[in-house]
């Protein structure tokens, strides 16, 4: 037997005084960590299999379980950390590319946490959202440059298709296949109840979810899975996915074992075949090519639906966004490097891309400087964690935000970052029927609605504190932000003053 270089990351700690051996932990762990010794009437745990997803902890009726980080340690130093050593051992053992899921976990600066929000005192009164109207509605799409009149002097409606959101928060793209049927149903139902939109991702739209079409963004990605005329027309908007924050420049690969039954039918590919999304769109090598696809999609949807182009936040994001804004797209979605994924090469996830805060600020500024800001709306995603992040994003220039990791957390995800195994104990990132049924969409959609309602209340409170009564008035209002712990260059890119200035 080969030497095992790896000690488990986590240890399952069971309080024997509290454990009643009900075996819920054993029944609920798809990783088969827990087992029961009938002779000894004792529960046992195999730490090597634990992914720290807390399913057992959350369901244990006597709170007899906890998972702790192991205190076992390598002789590590600041350069060769335990994590680095472990990953190296893993690769030496397998010869493979390291895979990870969810967003970039490295300790890069989180600029949201270095921005502070203003409030009114004395000279301009703050507003109490419980007593006075407060507008959280947002409209996404190209805004007309001028008022046009016909020969009789009547105003001509030259408004191109818009998306109307009750709150400036949408659920970002997660494909059916990467997440389960019940996760999709939860998102779709929540989006309808909230008056916002969810996004199909690149896996097509399950036939059962066509009824949510007014609250659906349908995505066209490089693999073009499940794309046909009815699909395009089923959505309220069409999104072209050029890149993803978690893995800019990289395609996708949904393994054949997840392409079963409905997933295969929805993606329109044979059962068991790998779903490989190429890194580029093979028909897009320039802004002109992108424009062709944008207009092909508009043609297919009779110019009734806004087209979104989603790009990852990379070094030249402002120039790229400027091109996208000229391509005929109505909305640009920018995904920062902390955005999630069902699976990405670890090195890409952890080292490629830039923070969404800087990308957003530079894109908004560039489009303003070029006088084309009204050509497009800007939607940002890539780890929007709270209502404060939403407010800061809007003040930096976003029209709305995308949340996905946050939405999954609301559904029960514990960020164990093992999506790629397909054995999600919470019924989210899995296609195994026995696991999928663990997410009852009645519960899931309710929790999503709760989350967004809670954020909406907080957004209103924060805006009220600033004396602002609409999202529209907050948009791009960078005077409402101050930086803390930032250098001159960072302040310049973010376009904010330092706290105290």
């Amino acid at each position: 037997m080969a030497i095992n270089f790896l000690y488990p990351d986590h240890e399952v700690v069971r309080n024997p005084q509290r454990c009643i051996a009900c075996r819920v932990c054993e029944r609920q762990c798809a990783n088969e960590v827990h087992s029961y010794d009938e002779e000894l009437n004792l529960m046992k745990a195999d730490d090597t299999k634990c992914v720290n997803c807390h399913r057992c902890v959350s369901l244990c009726p006597t709170m007899a379980l906890k998972i702790v980080k192991t205190d076992h340690t390598f002789k590590e130093n600041a350069n060769w950390t335990g994590e680095t050593i472990k990953e190296l051992y893993r690769q030496a053992g397998t010869g493979g590319v390291l895979l990870s899921s969810m967003g970039n976990p490295k300790p890069y600066p989180v600029y949201w946490d270095r921005l502070l929000i203003n409030a009114s005192q004395v000279t301009n009164p703050s507003i109490d959202p419980l007593r006075e109207p407060m507008e959280t509605r947002a409209y996404l799409g190209k805004k007309p440059e001028r008022i046009e009149r016909d020969q009789n002097g009547e105003i001509v409606n030259n408004l191109t298709p818009q998306l109307e959101l009750n709150v400036p928060i949408m659920f970002s793209a997660m494909s059916y296949g990467s997440i389960s049927y019940n996760a999709h149903e939860s998102l779709a139902r929540a989006a309808r109840e909230l008056g916002t939109l969810y996004n199909t991702g690149e896996g097509g739209l399950h036939e059962d979810f066509y009824e949510y079409s007014a609250n659906t963004i349908v995505q066209v990605a490089s693999g073009r899975f499940g794309v046909y005329k009815d699909y395009l027309n089923a959505g309220a908007a069409v999104e072209i996915k050029m890149g993803q924050g978690a893995k800019p420049g990289i395609g996708g690969h949904l393994p054949g074992q997840k392409i079963v039954g409905d997933v295969s039918r929805t993606r329109m590919i044979p059962e068991g075949s790998d779903a490989i999304s190429p890194a580029p769109h093979h028909d897009i090598y320039s802004i002109e090519d992108l424009r062709q696809l944008v207009y092909s999609l508009k043609e297919a949807t009779d110019y009734k639906k806004p087209v979104i182009v989603k790009i990852a936040a990379v070094h030249n994001v402002a120039a790229i966004a400027s091109g996208v804004a000229r391509s005929g797209a109505d909305i640009i979605a920018i995904d920062g490097f902390r955005g999630g994924t069902g699976a990405a090469p670890t090195r890409i996830r952890d080292n490629v891309g830039i923070p969404i805060e800087l990308a957003l600020a530079s894109v908004d500024q560039r489009l303003r400087d070029e006088g084309i800001r009204n050509n497009v709306s800007i939607v940002v995603g890539g780890s929007i964690r709270s209502s404060a992040d939403v407010v800061k994003a809007i003040a930096l220039g976003a029209d709305a935000v995308y949340i996905a990791t946050g939405a999954l957390l609301a559904l029960g995800c514990h960020l164990c970052r093992s999506c790629q195994t397909g054995k999600c104990n919470w019924g989210i990132a899995t296609q195994e029927p026995e696991l999928v049924k663990r997410l009852n969409p009645d519960v899931g959609s309710e929790r999503l609605v709760n989350l967004v309602h809670a954020w909406e209340h907080e957004i209103k409170e924060i805006m009220g504190g600033m004396g602002i009564n609409s999202i529209e008035a907050l948009k791009g209002n960078r005077l409402m932000l101050r930086g803390i712990g930032l250098n001159e260059k960072e302040l310049e890119i973010l376009g904010v003053k330092y706290a105290g200035e």
Binding site: R18, I20, C22, R27, Q28, L59, P61, K437
Partner: protein, 144 residues
């Protein structure tokens, strides 16, 4: 009679058995689950029926025309506001009700006399413990 009853949606039942443990606890007269159930072989009034990947919980349906009540030779079973209750002091353990019940929802208690689900009206009150503890809303308490 229109009343709220316990229903089980097999589609959402995970077979985790938490309902059984919470039933046993709530009928134990203890306030601490560990004290009530540690090293105890539980005898709950709701039972998970399962085979392979199929699971569902079964408990008394509180029938409008309950055969168990008709069959009881001692008059220990009665209907109170639609809820079928058992007076364990009257029960002699003849098991006629077990034979009569088509659902297998009545069973001997640890003392030998019969026990059955009484919708937690005698203990917790409000929502039955199995409904409250179901992690996937598979067991619901509603009027149908």
């Amino acid at each position: 009679m229109k009343m709220r009853r316990i229903y089980v949606n097999e589609k959402w039942c995970l077979g985790c058995h938490l309902c059984e443990y919470n039933c046993a606890f709530s009928n134990s007269a203890e306030t601490d689950m560990v004290k009530a159930l540690k090293d105890v072989h539980i005898n709950p009034r709701i039972r998970i029926e399962e085979e392979g990947n199929i699971h569902f919980a079964v408990s008394c349906r509180h029938c409008e025309e309950p055969l168990c009540v008709k069959g009881c030779i001692m008059g220990a079973l009665s209907i109170e506001d639609g809820v079928i209750m058992i007076d364990q002091d009257k029960c002699v353990g003849c098991c006629t009700c077990i034979l009569m019940c088509p659902y297998g929802a009545i069973m001997p208690s640890d003392t030998g006399v019969m026990q059955k689900c009484e919708l937690c009206v005698k203990n917790a009150g409000g929502t039955p413990a199995c409904v409250e503890s179901c992690p996937n809303r598979a067991i619901v308490f509603e009027e149908r």
